[in-house]
Structures are given as C-alpha cells and as structure tokens.
C-alpha cells in the first residue's frame, strides 16, 4: 500500500475472473477483510492494506474517492489460489484490475488479468523459458494463443510500455509512442584522418547536420558533453544523437568527405 493520508474503507471492489474457475472477488470494507471467494467457500483473502482509518475518513471517503486518487492494494488469497495480486486504481471512477499470479507445478508461473472491457489476458512463463500468451475476448470462449521466446516477449513488453528500442551493432533507436511516435537514434562513429585536429566548433556539426555529439571516448577515457573547443584525434569514438536523417547527414557530410 502506498502511503497516503487517507484510505477508503467502504469500497466495494468487484473483480471477475472468467476463465480460471475463480469466482467473483469482492472486497468490502478493506480493513475488515470482508470478501467472498465462492469456490471453495472457506477460502479467504488477506487484505494487506490499512487496518482501520479514522471514523471521520470512513464517512468521507465515499464522497472523496471519485475525485482523484490512486490506490494500490495487495490481497493474498488463501485456499483455492495460493497468491492473488489485486491492483486497482481509482481515478474519477472505480477502475479495477485484478492480476492473479499462480505457480503451477511442472508448468511455470501464470499471470492473469482482466481488462476494463472484461477481456482476459493470461501469460504463462513456462519452465522451458518460453512464454505463452493467451487472450480471451469477453464475448468468446475460445482463447487465442501465441508462444513467444524471451526476446520476443521483451520486445512486446517494450512496445506495450511505450518505448521501442532497436539496437544494432553501433546504434540504438528509441521510439516514444506516447510522443506522437518520436524516434531518436544514438550512433557511434570512429573519427578518421581528415577530421583529426579539428574542433567541434570548426566542423560545425550541429549547424550542418542537426545531430549532436554527446560523448567522446578516447583511449579508455570518456568525455561527456565535449565543449565547442574540443579537438578530435584520429581513432576517437564519438557518440552522436539525433534523428536517423540527421545522423546520415553527419556520416556523409562531416565524417566521410
């Protein structure tokens, strides 16, 4: 639980896991662990949240809660499922996301979450190292499956989290999908004979290409943010940042000719 000045005590949070045989989860009066996990009836949730908030807040929270607050809670279910992780955010209205993690002997670890639109996504980290990702639309009973290798899974994770990094030998491209697909490349080059002895100022790299030299590596020593008067030597490794076109310019205009 993130520390905050006040916590809701009287919410009814309701999650439904469609496809795992796990029935509805209710959390009412979080402090008092009132829950029902129907099957089997005796299992229960341990609420790892605040115990009891002052009565004053207990009265006020139902009114305050819809305003703006983010709450992370964690509940551990005993009985039917060994671990149950519930994350929910309340921002304007109750948004509920149940993430269930479960260790299946011989198979691996399962993570399952139900989206706001009641679709189910389940991810299995298999013992073989591969990952199986299932998606189950809310209006269907047939899931779709994809099996991923760890690099593929990492790539999907990066896409979903909004930053795509593509690395080849000397360059890295970072795309920020949240910023209207902004793509920035970072590239390394080696300084050749004809640039040796010239300073950053003389070469006018930024003015002529738009790219920026952000670091120079010389004989095992790194110079971060070299000053305009910095003079290159043959064999210096430079790190330049910019858009792909700008870096191409740098390569053709400055470094080669």
């Amino acid at each position: 639980m993130e520390d905050g000045p006040w916590y809701p005590d009287t919410f009814t949070l309701h999650g439904r896991s469609l496809y795992t045989g796990m029935p509805d989860i209710w959390i009412e009066e979080a402090g008092k662990k009132t829950t029902s996990l129907c099957n089997p009836p005796k299992s229960h949730l341990d609420w790892e949240g605040p115990a009891n908030s002052p009565p004053f807040f207990r009265v006020l929270t139902p009114f305050f809660a819809p305003a703006a607050m983010v709450l992370h809670g964690r509940a551990v279910a005993r009985g039917h499922s060994p671990r149950l992780l519930i994350l929910f955010k309340i921002r304007g209205r109750n948004v509920f996301m149940a993430l269930r993690s479960l260790n299946l002997p011989g198979i691996g670890t399962k993570y399952e979450l139900e989206t706001e639109k009641k679709d189910v996504i389940a991810i299995f980290f298999l013992k073989s190292g591969n990952i199986q990702m299932y998606t189950l639309p809310h209006d269907s009973s047939t899931p779709c499956v994809a099996e991923l290798t760890p690099p593929e899974a990492r790539r999907i994770g990066a896409i979903l989290s909004g930053a795509i990094m593509e690395a080849d030998k000397e360059s890295v491209e970072i795309a920020f999908s949240a910023l209207s697909d902004l793509r920035i490349s970072v590239h390394t080059y080696i300084i050749g004979k004809h640039c040796a002895g010239k300073s950053l100022e003389e070469l006018q790299i930024r003015a002529r290409t738009g790219a920026t030299v952000i670091a120079v590596s010389r004989g095992g020593r790194n110079i971060i943010n070299p000053p305009p008067g910095f003079t290159f030597e043959e064999g210096d490794a430079i790190v330049a940042i910019g858009e792909a076109d700008q870096l191409r310019q740098l390569e053709q205009v400055i470094l080669v000719t």
Partner: protein, 378 residues
C-alpha cells in the same frame, strides 16, 4: 556394454522422430525395448552395466519427483487437490483392481496393476497442456493439481510397500530419524551448500550426483525404503535451492531414464508362458475408459460441467514413468508385460485424444443436447 550402446542409439533416433511428430517418447522407448529384447529379436540382454544405469534412471526420476514436491504449496491448496484427487483415486484404483483380478491376476499382482493403472503420467499431462496450448482452460489447473495428488500417492505407495522384512515400526523409526538428520544437516549447512551450488566448476554436479546415490546406498544399507528416501531427500533439498538441483540433476535423469524405459522393454517378455493376451488387452482398454469415468466425475463435481471432464480425461489418459517404476519395482513377469502394454496403449491414445479433444468434446457432447431437445417419451 554393447547392448546399452545399441539401445541408446535406437532411443536417440526414436527421440528425434517423436519430438518432430510431437508424440510422447516413453511408449516408443518401450516398444523399441520390446523389439530388440526378450520379446523380439533378442539382440540386447541385461548385464551389470545396464542394471546399474537402469537403477540410476529410477533414482533420478524419483529424486526429480521429490524436488517438485512443495509441501507448503500443496498444503495451501489441499482442498482443491483432495476433492478431484480422491475421486480419481477411488474410481481408478477400484476399476483397475477389479479388472485385473477378474482377468486372472493374483490378489497381490492385481494390487500392483491397480497402482500402475491409477497413476497417470505427470510428464505427459504437462507436455500435453503446454503443447496443445490449453493452459488457459479452467480444467488445466485441476489437471495440474490432480497430477500433484497422484505424485503424493506414488510416494505413499513407495513408502509403505518398499520396506524390508523388518518390523514396520522399526523401519518407521529409522526412516524418521534419518529424515530428521537430513533436515538438520541440510539446514545448518544451507549457506555452505548454496555456495557450492553457485560454482561453475564440476562441484555442483558432483554434489548432486553423489548426494542422490549416497542417500540411496545409505537407505538400502539401513533397510529402509530406498525409493521413498530418495524422494524425501529431493523434497528436503528442494527447500534449499530447487532450481540448481534440478539443473544439475536433469542431464542424469534425461539419459538414465531413457535407459530405464528401454531396458524395461528389453526385460519384459510379453510372449512368455502364462501371460494372457486377453488380460493384457483388457487392462489396457479398461485403463482408457476408467480415466474417462474419473474425468467425467471430476468435471461434474468440481467444475459442475461434464464437458470439462472430457478435457480432464484427454490429458490424463497417458500412463507413463511412474507406472513403469511400479512395475519395475514389484511387477512379476505377467504384471510387467501388462503394464508395458498399458503404458504404450494409453500414452499413444492419450496423445491423440488430447490433440483432438475439441472435436471429441463436440462429438461426445452432441447426443446429450439432442436428448434435451427431444420431447419427453410418453
């Protein structure tokens, strides 16, 4: 020695083929054993080397089983495990025993057959769920816990029936004291053991290998059930670092277990005198059918839906490693050939049923819907 090499190469070829076709490999190792052994061409016999390697295969199978057993996790799921597990146990042991007894096995032999009959192959069930991409099915969890329950039954069977002629209480006292000593040693030396396992030289593998063999030797020297001790030792070591022990013992298990399966086939003589073909075929067919009944029962009582039972059935038909282990430990000639055939029939049937379970489900579910739709008689 040459026999072992020949058997291994046959298995290597079979492994390549079965993995390509996504079929379970255990039945094919046994078939290969039958073909090159006593029942078939008689190319390979059993010598001291083969016996030793076979024994290692069994020990590492059991050690692996022990590593997978997590007492706390099982306890926190005991309700879910017990309900489906007990249904499975009762239905299959009773049907297995009655079938074997009716088909002419002696009382003791029928018990061994019933035990092997009951235990589905955990490895096959898990592979089938992963390969056929059925992990999201709500029955998948039930199947996984069902396998855990069956594993526990294996352990109990090994503990009770594996003892020597001594008084059971003496054996029990010895077993408990050895277990306590092991727990004490492993937990006081926990940090030291962990530090050895982290090394990247030969030490971790050497430790794992000699620990398993050492425990087995100690147990048999003391007259306590060796198989049970190896499993329990695996469980105890599993509380320290299950992943490392698994990684270091896996190569031994993989190789020696193949030797174990193929030599089980080699030593089994299905054409021997006194082995009734009717009994062998009968047990195999009943074995497929009886898991159908238990699957439907579990589907009905646990999921409230008989169709769930068809999925549970599809993934639990295959009998495998533990059935063979039981046959190798206590089976007479007739029992071994019956169990060998049962493993071959059920595991191949299981592989196909699991692959086409959706279609089978539709076929088996349709008649009931039609019945529901038809007007009541009279």
């Amino acid at each position: 020695m040459e026999g072992v090499v020949l058997a291994l190469f046959v298995c290597l070829v079979l492994a390549l083929i079965t993995k390509k076709l996504a079929l379970p490999s255990i039945p094919f190792y046994i078939i290969a054993g039958l073909l090159i052994g006593k029942s078939g061409l008689g190319l390979v016999g059993v010598d001291g080397v083969a016996q030793f390697l076979t024994h290692l295969g069994l020990l590492f199978l059991l050690f692996f089983l022990g590593l997978e057993i997590k007492p706390d996790r099982i306890w926190s799921n005991h309700r879910a495990i017990a309900q489906s597990g007990l249904l499975d146990l009762h239905i299959n042991v009773i049907i297995g025993f009655v079938a074997a007894y009716a088909l002419g096995f002696s009382f003791a032999d029928a018990l061994v057959v019933a035990a092997a009959f009951f235990i589905s192959s955990t490895a096959m069930a898990v592979t089938s769920l992963v390969e056929n991409r059925k992990l999201l099915m709500r029955e998948a969890e039930t199947i996984v816990w069902l396998m855990v329950f069956e594993d526990i039954v294996v352990i109990l069977v090994l503990a009770f029936f594996g003892s020597s002629g001594e008084h059971p209480l003496i054996v029990l006292a010895k077993t408990v004291s050895l277990l306590l000593a092991l727990i004490l040693i492993t937990h006081t030396g926990r940090d030291y053991i962990t530090s050895i396992l982290k090394r990247d030289d030969e030490l971790p593998v050497l430790l794992t290998f000699s620990a398993v063999l050492g425990i087995a030797a100690l147990a048999s020297a003391w007259g306590i059930p060796e198989s049970f001790m190896v499993i329990a030792f695996g469980t105890i070591l599993g509380t320290i670092d299950p992943v490392s022990f698994e990684v270091h013992s896996r190569p031994f298990k993989d190789v020696f277990l193949v030797v174990f399966f193929v030599f089980f086939g080699i030593t089994t003589d299905i054409f021997a005198e006194g082995v009734s073909v009717v009994a062998i075929a009968g047990v195999s067919i009943v074995a497929v059918f009886s898991k159908y009944l238990s699957g439907i029962a579990i589907g009905h009582f646990v999921h409230g839906n008989r169709n769930s039972g068809i999925e549970i059935w599809a993934n639990t038909i295959g009998r495998g490693e533990f059935s063979i282990a039981i046959a190798a430990l206590w089976g007479s000639g007739a029992v071994s050939s019956t169990i060998a055939t049962m493993v071959i029939v059920t595991s191949i049937t299981g592989a196909f049923v699991a692959k086409y379970s959706n279609a089978i489900r539709n076929v088996l579910a349709r008649p009931r819907e039609e019945n529901r739709g038809s007007p009541p008689p009279g």
